[in-house]
């Protein structure tokens, strides 16, 4: 058991190294995507800055709150998609039969699939999130470390959501659009707006079906007022989501029907 864990960790680092090396085969593309993603995110913060400066607000929301939200959502997103970019390929692998290669290898299929690709642009999100976080914490090392730790857990929500939504391709056909829209419109959008602006009904959804509260709202509040219970709640809910994702993926693999992967129009 211990040996298997050790081998899996070794394999994880080899796979990440190879994925990055594969990405670096197109260095210019990697750098352009990383820089443009960071610039894209920066515009949103500039927008918020303009709103706070010129329009003002009476909601109690501060610019620092917004900085934390952006920091957590982009760090979590960056970790999930840069290191585990294969999560966005699960539906493709199922539909085209490319999952065969992963099922033939003596490794955990989910880990193997998740580490099979890295999303270059997410590196820009990760770096951007860290820089924004450093600004928000005022350079407080303890807070930065806490932020990175919670950000790591936040990535579980992105990973689990992608795994669940893309694995169900086995039963209902290609879920690429559903997964992309869900993550972009619900997880990312809601996690970058302060919780206070939403009414109770929406908040209920954001604390249950769409787990935005655990990847952005509670982590942001922890930075202002740390309390262990809230941190444990984030970790526990993360583990529940991850367990649901693993069960869904394993069930999907039992029903996987493979396919003959010829290059075809789609």
């Amino acid at each position: 058991m211990l040996m298997e864990v050790k081998n899996n960790i070794r394999y994880f680092f080899s796979a990440i190294r190879i994925s990055i090396k594969s990405a670096m085969a197109y260095k210019a593309s990697f750098l352009v995507q990383t820089i443009f993603m960071a610039i894209n995110n920066l515009f949103f913060l500039i927008f918020w800055g303009v709103v706070f400066k010129n329009i003002g607000n009476d909601t109690g929301i501060t610019f620092n709150n917004v900085l934390y939200l952006w920091s957590f959502s982009t760090i979590s997103y960056g970790i999930a998609y840069f290191f585990f970019g294969g999560i966005q390929k699960i539906n493709d692998y199922i539909i085209t039969g490319a999952m065969d290669s992963y099922l033939l290898q003596p490794k955990n299929v989910l880990l193997n699939v998740c580490t099979s690709k890295c999303n270059f642009a997410a590196c820009g999100d990760l770096l951007y999130g860290i820089v924004v976080g450093i600004i928000a914490t005022g350079g407080d090392i303890r807070k930065i470390l806490l932020m990175l730790f919670i950000g790591l857990f936040g990535s579980i929500f992105f990973i689990s959501t992608e795994v669940i939504l893309r694995s169900i391709s086995v039963w209902i056909g290609d879920t690429k659009t559903i997964a992309n829209r869900y993550v972009e419109m619900l997880l990312i959008t809601f996690s970058t707006y302060p919780e206070n602006i939403f009414k109770i009904g929406i908040k209920f959804i954001l604390y249950t079906v769409v787990p935005v509260a655990y990847l952005a709202y509670i982590p942001s509040s922890l930075m202002a007022n740390f309390n262990l219970k809230s941190l444990m709640l984030v970790i526990a809910v993360g583990l529940v989501y991850f367990t649901i994702a693993v069960i869904t993926f394993n069930k999907a693999m039992k029903n996987y029907e493979s396919g003959n992967n010829l290059a075809m129009k789609n």
Binding site: N7, R10, Y11, S14, A15, I18, K21, S22, A25, Y26, G97, A98, M99, D100, S101, L103, L104, Q105, P106, K107, N112, K254, Y256, E257, S258, N260, N261, L262
Partner: protein
């Protein structure tokens, strides 16, 4: 026993219809009541026309998909329950799918494959060196995979599939799309693995040349069921008893009435088909020698390809 399959069945449910049409389900029996055994060191050809159930069977044997019914033991393991353990004992190469990284060198792809099989860095280096020498691909190791020719890539794929010294290798169309030189090279490699390491080979191919060059046994599957399971020699003696005989004489055989169901008389040439199970070849040759002065004689077996085509048709 390396592979033991008993009453294997796989059913797929195909959903039709959609938003405007009522949904219907069609049950497709992809594989039905398939049973066979393969001994250690055998090279078995598993062939059949497109859609016969070859790939579905291989995918069940390797643990990729789960059977609807039946028992499978591969290297003593149940692929549905022991997928990870089985992966250490089998190697797979699917001609239409790549396990190498398109944007990396062959060496880097092999390194990742070695880490999948838990090799440490020294074992990895030694293994890559050994496999490169065995397959004579030293000069390809530092080439980027996407820049290899199809033949080079196929050889590298096969080499990649045996890095972990598997006991059994499943090859699905290993020579698909290759020219005759690459095909010959791959056949030599497969034969060498079998002879030197005693590796069991389970092969599907539409190229009868692969079957004739490599296999000692042939299993033919059609419409999901096994129609023939015999050695190549048995198959040949059973189905290749018909010989095409072409005899040339030094002068024209004008309007001669000949025995033995001669099919064609073309000037000084006679052509007939004789079944060696029914006709005494000595008598036949003596008869045709008495007819005139023979200058040339050709006796050919029916090509294996035609035999298999006939079996597909017979058992459809």
């Amino acid at each position: 026993m390396q592979i033991c399959v008993k009453d294997l069945k796989k059913v797929f449910t195909v959903k039709n219809g959609g938003i405007l049409k009522p949904k219907t389900k069609t049950i497709v029996n992809a594989v039905e009541d398939v049973s066979f055994e393969v001994e250690k060191g055998e090279i078995v050809a598993f062939i059949g026309p497109n859609g016969a159930g070859k790939s579905t069977t291989i995918k069940m044997l390797t643990g990729i998909i789960h059977p609807t019914q039946g028992e499978i033991k591969v290297a003593g393991l149940d692929p549905t329950k022991d997928r990870k353990k089985l992966a250490y004992k089998i190697g797979c190469m699917f001609g239409q799918k790549s396990q190498l990284y398109m944007h990396l060198t062959v060496r880097d792809s092999y390194k990742l494959l070695c880490s999948i099989y838990d090799f440490n860095s020294e074992q990895t280096e030694a293994k890559i060196k050994e496999i490169a020498e065995l397959f004579k691909i030293e000069e390809l190791l530092d080439k980027v995979v996407r820049k290899l020719s199809l033949g080079q890539r196929m050889i590298c794929e096969i080499a990649g599939s045996i890095l972990h010294n598997p006991d059994i290798i499943f090859l699905d169309e290993p020579t698909i799309g290759l020219d005759i030189f690459a095909k010959t090279r791959i056949r030599e490699i497969i034969k060498k693995m079998n002879e030197e390491k005693g590796t069991t080979i389970f092969l599907t191919s539409h190229d009868i040349g692969d079957v004739e060059a490599l296999c000692n046994r042939i299993i033919i599957i059609n419409n999901g069921t096994i129609v023939t399971d015999s050695t190549i020699d048995e198959l040949k003696s059973k189905y290749l008893s018909k010989k095409v005989i072409k005899i040339s004489y030094d002068s024209m055989l004008e309007n001669k009435k000949l025995d033995y169901n001669v099919q064609k008389i073309d000037n000084n040439r006679v052509e007939l088909i004789a079944d060696t199970n029914k006709v005494n070849m000595g008598d036949l040759l003596a008869y045709f020698t008495s007819v005139g002065n023979i200058v040339d004689i050709q006796i050919e077996s029916t090509p294996l390809e035609d035999v298999i085509k006939d079996i597909y048709k017979e058992r459809r």
